[in-house]
């Protein structure tokens, strides 16, 4: 197996499984809407993973970019516009602009202060959306119609929507992975590990971080616009800080080291939540400990689990280890 295949194998398998799922008994409306929600959240989680794992920027306000993307769809819907070529670029641009402004301030801090300031900006966005009474305020807003593309109602078909989300998720993941391996990504990664060294060779990390922050915000906006279409309902809850925390948890559960981890994390959390809440009334009592256990025993996340298991297996069978050596 070649190196890139080995590195991205699990993420590729997951994407293939998502492509096959509708034809393997998960083609009903319920399953498709569940999967598309997971993929959309996965997209946002991948963009957050770019910040957390790539640039070392732990944002606790990423849901705000999703919320802004979703509210852009809502605002256009209220104005009677639902042409995708207008709505989607606007949603992405709005979220990117938010990221540019808040990032320009937040990125002057680091560590715990960065976490707190991103949280504060997120809360500001949350309360702002709550006060839009024309867009439903606290109660939220039910979309009149899904976004159309050149007048065609492509997104109304659940299967088409499934593959649209999958395609965009794959694109975001592949683009993000390329980005981390590029010149730009190398500066980001180096600045995560040792900012002093990066300065010493002549780079100021700030503009690189800001560009990454804006890119992640743009993807957040895209996923928000998709989520608004998937659920046809948007409320301020989408921007709450617990949503940001959930995204962060998807990233950590999936594995911070690789963007593909965020996809696994999002899938795992959405599916687990769904399954457990059907089985048990007090499902959160099980969900919580499961998450704790996963962090304790899978420090590299789900995406690192196969390697860890292999290592454990080798450790358990010394004969094989000797043969390898």
């Amino acid at each position: 197996m070649t190196a890139p295949l080995r590195k991205h194998g699990l993420a590729l398998v997951t994407l293939l499984a998502l492509a096959a799922a509708p034809f393997l008994g998960f083609g009903d409306g319920f399953a498709l809407s569940l999967l598309s929600r997971a993929m959309i959240l996965g997209m946002a989680a991948v963009s957050l993973s770019l910040l957390v794992g790539g640039a070392g920027l732990v944002s606790l306000g990423h849901a705000a970019t999703m919320g802004i993307g979703a509210y852009a769809v809502v605002a256009f819907d209220a104005a009677g516009v639902n042409e995708g070529l207008i709505v989607f670029p606007a949603a992405i641009a709005a979220a990117a602009a938010y990221a540019l402004v808040t990032g320009a301030v937040s990125l002057r801090t680091s560590g715990v202060h960065f976490i707190m300031i991103t949280l504060a900006f997120g809360q500001m966005a949350f309360f702002t959306t709550s006060s839009f009474s024309s867009l439903g305020g606290d109660d939220g807003y039910t979309l009149y119609a899904r976004t159309e593309w050149l007048g065609m109602r492509i997104m109304d078909n659940r299967l088409t929507f499934h593959f649209l989300c999958l395609g965009l998720l794959a694109l975001v993941w592949a683009g993000g992975s390329l980005l981390l391996g590029s010149r730009f990504g190398r500066v980001l990664r180096a600045a995560r590990e040792n900012p002093q060294r990066v300065l010493a060779v002549g780079f100021q990390p700030y503009p690189y971080r800001l560009v990454a922050y804006v890119m992640a915000g743009a993807v957040g906006g895209l996923s928000g616009a998709l989520l608004a279409n998937a659920t046809e309902f948007v409320s301020p809850a989408l921007l709450s800080w617990t949503r940001s925390g959930e995204l962060l948890f998807m990233v950590i559960l999936g594995g911070v080291g690789q963007l593909g981890g965020a996809i696994l994390g999002a899938l795992a959390i959405v599916l687990l939540e769904e399954t457990l809440s059907h089985l048990l009334v007090y499902w959160r009592l099980v969900f919580g400990p499961l998450l704790v256990l996963s962090v304790l025993f899978l420090p590299d996340g789900l995406i690192g689990a196969p390697l860890r298991l292999r290592a454990a297996f080798r450790f358990a069978s010394p004969k094989r280890r000797n043969a390898d050596a």
């Binding site: 390329l178 980005l179 391996g181 590029s182 010149r183 730009f184 990504g185 190398r186 500066v187 990664r189 180096a190 590990e193 040792n194 002093q196 060294r197 990066v198 300065l199 010493a200 060779v201 002549g202 780079f203 100021q204 690189y208 560009v211």
Partner: protein, 251 residues
């Protein structure tokens, strides 16, 4: 005499009531190794901080290559050709040795706002990085993760990073700190090889290394340069003996 590469004039810095740099003036000529010695707490590292731009002096000017750089930040001075090594090794631990050096090459060759092309396959960067690793004798471990290198190798790697910046002046803050006898030997050899290619300002505790390498030596005591001179002048200077060296070092 050629124009000095680095010229400090009347540099002063206080931390509250404590004077750490007091009216320091000195020059480094192109191709010269100028060593700064002095007892612990003399303000050597603080001086390096001010020259490299991580600390702003209260008074005085710093001219580098004919330009006043007193107000320029760290990374801008680096781009002008002022390369600094740190007392405590500063590398990117998760990168390979090659990647550490290639990052420095990248900083001076074209824009780094390039988002798609895999940087690991950029031949021009890698070749120059390998050449710098060659210079310090690390070509064998180019693909090893920096964190896995020995202490001496990390010191060498930091030198390679500085060289890869294609600098005019190397600011070396105790490059031999923590190195064993063999590693010291090797590092002195490397520094010998670098002389005349760059101006070097060397802060170092190892007296043998300083006497073996330096063209000129400045002695810093309580933030003040008490004397600047050649190796022989410094060895024989009475104030230096009492302030710093002790009788043993001169034997």
């Amino acid at each position: 005499m050629p124009d000095p590469l680095l010229e400090l004039h009347g540099l002063s810095k206080n931390f509250g009531a404590l004077t750490v740099t007091s009216d320091v003036s000195l020059t480094v000529l192109p191709g010269e190794i100028h060593a700064i010695i002095g007892p612990n707490g003399a303000g050597k590292t603080t001086l390096i901080h001010q020259i490299s731009g991580t600390l702003r002096p209260d008074r005085g000017t710093i001219r580098f290559a004919g330009q006043d750089v007193t107000a320029l930040p760290f990374e801008r001075r680096a781009r002008l050709g002022l390369a600094r090594s740190f007392q405590i090794t500063s590398i990117v631990p998760g990168f390979t040795a090659l990647e550490n050096v290639a990052l420095a090459v990248q900083a001076r060759s074209g824009s780094s706002f390039r988002f798609l092309r895999p940087v690991a396959t950029e031949k021009a960067l890698n070749e120059e990085a390998r050449a710098a690793l060659d210079t310090v004798g690390l070509e064998q471990v180019a693909d090893r993760t920096a964190a896995a290198l020995s202490h001496g190798e990390k010191r060498q790697l930091e030198l390679a990073i500085a060289i890869a910046m294609n600098p005019r002046l190397l600011l070396l803050d105790e490059p031999l700190a923590g190195a064993g006898p063999e590693e010291t030997e090797r590092l002195i050899g490397i520094l010998h090889g670098l002389r005349s290619r760059y101006g070097i300002l060397l802060v170092e505790h190892d007296m043998q290394a300083v006497f073996a390498l330096a063209d000129r030596i400045s002695v810093l005591v309580y933030g003040r340069v008490i004397v600047t001179g050649t190796v022989d002048e410094i060895r024989g200077h009475p104030e230096v003996r009492t302030a710093y060296l002790g009788e043993d070092a001169l034997a």
